[in-house]
């Protein structure tokens, strides 16, 4: 049945697409104006949806007044509303940042990059809203394809050979993922006669068809989310794209397919999923954190460091599954933690990529080793970068901190002490590359920096705004539905001690694994071994990021899921 606020869901999906279509016709300078108008109205709709959800609880809307299984229903529960609101905010932040980069120059009537960027940004937004609200698995397949077709051209917007190769690799690997997802949808229709998620949740039992469908769909979505070891396409794509595009790709596009894994495992087929398969998802997440962070420390360019940081942060998104699915139903606290982690990553990562873009625009390069003195030259941009990094480390009032607390509670509840260690230790890896960049930029330059190119103040404040949003996300617990008791005093000895310990171990990691010694202390034999270890990680990452090994890994994981699901 359609609830009163339900129509807003349909508008949230259609508005960005209407904006894109009007922008396509208007062309030229009007594209950006139409995009900004759409962002304002879209933000209003997102707030309206949140307000309607606070009043009425779950929202639903039957399109064409046909109820499932014949028609398509749009639904929004807590996680969907939170993601809708967060994505609307991040899109507006990215819009403000990109206003300077993607402006139609005075001479020409229409510039390719600006025209394409604003239309594709609206397309990404519309397809993400559809991913969050659609209740129909086939419509979600079309939404995933929309997301990929809007994301791929963003990678090669600059048009250089290397980015074209990264975009092609991304498109082909994402297509492999979506064809596996479609295969799962087909099997579910064959087995249960419907593709509506609510009806499927009631009809599905733990039998071969449902298990095969879940295994195939999950692996397809992991390929599109680039969870380790299926991250073949992410680093070159996100590292090579223009900064405003990398922010869209890293902060927004990968959240769509992750959200679907959450929907499938926690809403549609919790019975089929079982605890042991969830442990595998969590294991892949933990591996992603370790490999992503170590290889991030080895990078020589800031944007590639941030791209590998995304590979690591995606691992965090999947840490929730062992706690969410403990075999006795779904743990809501863990799901809320996952959504919070996704939102805090979206905001912080957007801020970090924007800051990296500003550094590149101002200095003309983003080689980490030559960033000495950058902090003094670009205070707001580097502050945005470091605050984003600190927020991802899970330092108090950040969203990541709140997510970690919720997951720790869930882990204690289900007695999984191993995951408690991973949760506590994970922040150390994030601290590694944040400390590395902090030290490089805060050092005094040997000779004064060359003349900086001017960069727009609005872009800097947009980056800082998003990073601060991620840092302050935990304050929403005070107003939102989450228990406020989780927030303890940030300066209390326990919290402060924890933060300092994480920073200390992070510095140790950065010292050991980074390419060049941190404080130019002469490198002892210990550093020799850590360097060898780090190079081993780098070679391993390069081996996994070859096409045949990534495809074999994809099917290997599908087979493992199938086996674990059958065994559960």
């Amino acid at each position: 049945m359609s609830t009163p606020g339900g129509l807003l869901l349909a508008l949230a999906v259609l508005l960005p697409f209407v904006g894109m279509l009007l922008g396509l016709v208007a062309g030229g300078r009007h594209v950006r104006r139409i995009a900004f108008a759409t962002m304002l109205v879209g933000l209003g709709i997102a707030v309206g949806i949140a307000w309607a959800w606070l009043q009425a609880g779950e929202l639903a809307y039957l399109l064409g007044d046909w109820s499932p299984p014949l028609g398509i229903a749009l639904r929004a529960d807590g996680p969907a509303v939170a993601m809708l609101l967060a994505v609307a905010g991040v899109v507006c932040g990215i819009g403000l940042y990109a206003r300077a980069d993607f402006d139609t120059p005075a001479g020409s009537s229409e510039s390719r990059a600006a025209f394409s960027y604003w239309l594709l940004l609206l397309a990404v937004w519309g397809s993400l809203n559809l991913v969050f609200v659609s209740g129909d698995l086939f419509t979600l397949y079309v939404a995933l394809e929309l997301l990929t077709f809007a994301g791929v051209p963003l990678v090669c917007l600059a048009g250089s050979g290397e980015t074209l190769r990264a975009a092609l690799r991304y498109l082909l690997f994402a297509l492999c993922g979506s064809v596996l997802y479609l295969l799962g949808v087909v099997l579910l229709y064959g087995g249960y006669g419907t593709v509506d998620m609510r009806l499927l949740a009631e009809a599905v039992q733990a039998e071969p068809i449902a298990r095969t469908a879940l295994a195939l769909m999950t692996v397809g979505l992991l390929a599109k989310t680039a969870l380790f070891p299926l991250h073949i396409w992410l680093p070159p794509a996100h590292g090579g794209a223009p900064a405003a595009a990398s922010a869209v790709l890293s902060a927004l596009v990968i959240k769509g397919s992750w959200f679907l894994v959450l929907r499938l495992w926690c809403d549609v087929m919790p019975g089929v999923a079982g605890a042991s398969a969830a442990q595998l998802l969590g294991g892949l997440g933990a591996a992603a954190i370790v490999v992503g962070s170590v290889v991030a420390l080895r990078q020589q360019r800031l944007k590639l460091l941030v791209a590998y940081s995304t590979v690591a942060q995606i691992g965090y998104l999947f840490l929730m599954f062992p706690m969410a699915l403990t075999g006795t139903g779904v743990h809501d606290g863990a799901v809320a933690a996952g959504v919070l982690q996704a939102i805090s990553h979206a905001t912080a990562k957007a801020g970090m990529f924007m800051a990296a873009g500003l550094v590149y625009a101002a200095l003309g390069h983003d080689r980490i080793d030559d960033l000495a003195g950058a902090a003094r030259a670009l205070p707001i941009a580097l502050l945005a970068f470091l605050i984003g990094g600190v927020a991802l480390m899970g330092v108090l009032p950040s969203g990541a901190y709140l997510a970690k607390k919720l997951l720790l509670d869930a882990a204690d509840g289900s007695g999984q002490w191993a995951w408690t260690w991973v949760l506590q230790g994970g922040a150390v890896f994030t601290a590694g590359y944040v400390v590395l960049v902090g030290v490089r930029v805060l050092r005094r330059p040997a000779q004064p920096l060359a003349e900086l190119k001017p960069i727009s103040l609005l872009s800097q404040w947009a980056a800082l705004g998003l990073s601060l949003a991620s840092l302050g996300l935990a304050l929403t617990a005070v107003v939102g539905p989450l228990p406020a008791s989780l927030i303890s005093n940030p300066l209390s000895p326990k919290e402060l001690g924890n933060t300092l310990a994480v920073l200390a171990i992070g510095t140790l990691l950065a010292w050991g694994l980074a390419r060049r010694p941190l404080f130019s202390i002469t490198s002892g034999s210990l550093r020799g071994t850590t360097q060898a270890l780090a190079r081993g990680f780098e070679q391993g990452d390069h081996f996994i990021r070859r096409w045949p090994s990534a495809m074999v890994a994809m099917l290997g994981i599908a087979a493992t899921f199938g086996w674990l699901l059958a065994r559960a």
């Binding site: 014949l70 086939f138 397949y141 079309v142 394809e145 990929t148 077709f149 791929v152 051209p153 090669c156 048009g159 250089s160 050979g161 290397e162 074209l164 190769r165 990264a166 975009a167 092609l168 690799r169 498109l171 082909l172 297509l175 492999c176 064809v179 479609l182 295969l183 087909v186 229709y189 064959g190 006669g193 593709v195 070159p236 080895r298 080793d369 390419r515 060049r516 360097q531 190079r535 780098e538 070679q539 990452d541 390069h542 990021r545 070859r546 096409w547 045949p548 495809m551 074999v552 099917l555």
Partner: protein, 108 residues
């Protein structure tokens, strides 16, 4: 062994053939052909399910067939974007290889 099961098994084989091609073939254009073969395997499976669902005077279940038409068009759009990318990649780099260059082993 009715006709639908025959086509269903054929579809499963098509998916396998397409998947093998996707893993092994190195040139991206060949990968797109393998992707289309695998996609059509999924579509034939869906078509076989549709025919199994024939009821109420209809020769086949119209809902999967409608979804199929949508999926075929989406698959064409995917192939069109991929082919355009390949042509541009070859124009600008004279190579269509997907391999990225290894991390430089230079020690600092």
């Amino acid at each position: 062994m009715n006709v639908e099961t025959l086509y269903g098994l054929g579809a499963a084989a098509l998916v396998g053939i397409g998947l093998y091609g996707l893993i092994v073939l190195a040139h991206p254009l060949r990968k797109i052909i393998a992707f289309n073969v695998m996609g059509s395997g999924v579509f034939v499976l869906f078509g076989a399910l549709a025919k199994r669902g024939a009821a109420a005077g209809l020769h086949a279940d119209p809902v999967p067939q409608a979804l199929l038409i949508t999926a075929i068009v989406v698959a064409f759009a995917a192939s069109a974007l991929a082919v355009a990318l390949i042509v541009r990649l070859i124009e600008s780099t004279d190579s269509a290889s997907l391999a990225s260059d290894p991390p430089d082993g230079s020690r600092d």
